[in-house]
Symmetry: C2
Subunit: 203 residues, 2 copies
């Protein structure tokens, strides 16, 4: 039995919420959320606008679902056993590694989250949630400094910003399908080594 | 003697190449280079389009001047005494510090350089020059690793990307006029400490 084939112009709508979301996120990342119309989404998905409206109320719902997926991934880290139990510095190291893994594993969703700029309610909500996540990681860094396990001479907020800057910059160049030259594991290892140990060889 | 005042609608064109460039860079960073028309530049500068054409051949020349200013700042570092003489690790540390200083000192120009995406000849040229700069810093890192002063267990290209990622992310939040809470010196110190020493307190 063969699957019914779409007609010449429009594709048969076989999308699930997840597969439609994947198309939308690709378009959002290429054109920017503001620059994307329902027309663009319809063309990219190969189905009519009314078919899209069958799945979602509009592009803002797609944005909300997409950034939620990224945020759920990130906040999920904080609920994991190794993020909750143990010395703060070890928890911080675990969270750092897992952040890289979520970023590389959910690359288009995290990329979109990082590019959100706050023009709509959903964007402002996403930025607020990002700040909350950053804040929780900063608290962990503060606790590790209080334990004397992490240097206290760099202000916590500045250190957090710089570390997040390094991690978030990975979306600019990491591609999971680029011939497997670098695995997500290697990237995560390098980030953890650099952030905690620094470049310099032990004196 | 009073300076002649501009009329109600249009401003008298008292721009120098540098002050006109400053206006253009602000608009490019706000709207994106692609999204900026000569009309936008004319409105932001408060002078007519033909007045702008009196200064430059068009917006691509403004882009070229702007990214050149950032690139000249960055490449200038490599010609400085401390970047050329001494152990590779010390030169690398000096270059890292100076990169942060150039970034904070020439913030809008470096921001524009980092956002350039390669749709025009000027953009492709700017990206090529950026890669060349990155390459020269990577070579310095390689030399420091060969000296045994920098850890050899993180691949040079990956380490360079992560360090550049941290430094470049500063354009996302650093504002020189934000009440002076953080000076460029404090940011540069923190980056150097983090990149070379890492977060962890010496065991």
């Amino acid at each position: 039995m063969s699957t019914p084939r779409p007609g010449a112009g429009a594709r048969r709508d076989t999308y699930t919420p997840d597969t439609l979301l994947a198309v939308a996120v690709t378009v959002f990342n290429e054109r920017g959320y503001d620059g994307t119309s329902m027309e663009h989404l319809s063309k990219a998905a190969g189905i009519s606008k009314s078919s899209i409206y069958h799945h979602v109320t509009g592009k803002e719902e797609l944005l909300r679902r997409a950034v939620s997926r990224a945020l759920d991934g990130l906040f999920g880290i904080l609920d994991e056993q190794h993020a909750r139990v143990g010395r703060a510095v070890e928890r911080l190291e675990y969270v750092t590694r897992r952040m890289v893994e979520v970023l590389t594993g959910e690359l288009p969703y995290v990329t979109l989250l990082l590019r959100v700029r706050g023009n709509t309610d959903t964007e402002r909500w996403a930025m607020e949630r990002r700040r909350e996540f950053d804040h929780q990681v900063a608290e962990l860094l503060k606790a590790a400094a209080a334990d004397g396990d992490v240097r206290g001479d760099i202000e916590v907020r500045l250190a957090t910003r710089l570390v997040f800057g390094m991690i978030n910059s990975i979306v600019e160049w990491y591609r999971p399908d680029s011939g497997g030259r670098l695995t997500d594991r290697e990237v995560a290892d390098a980030v953890v080594e650099l952030v905690f140990g620094g470049l310099r060889e032990g004196v």
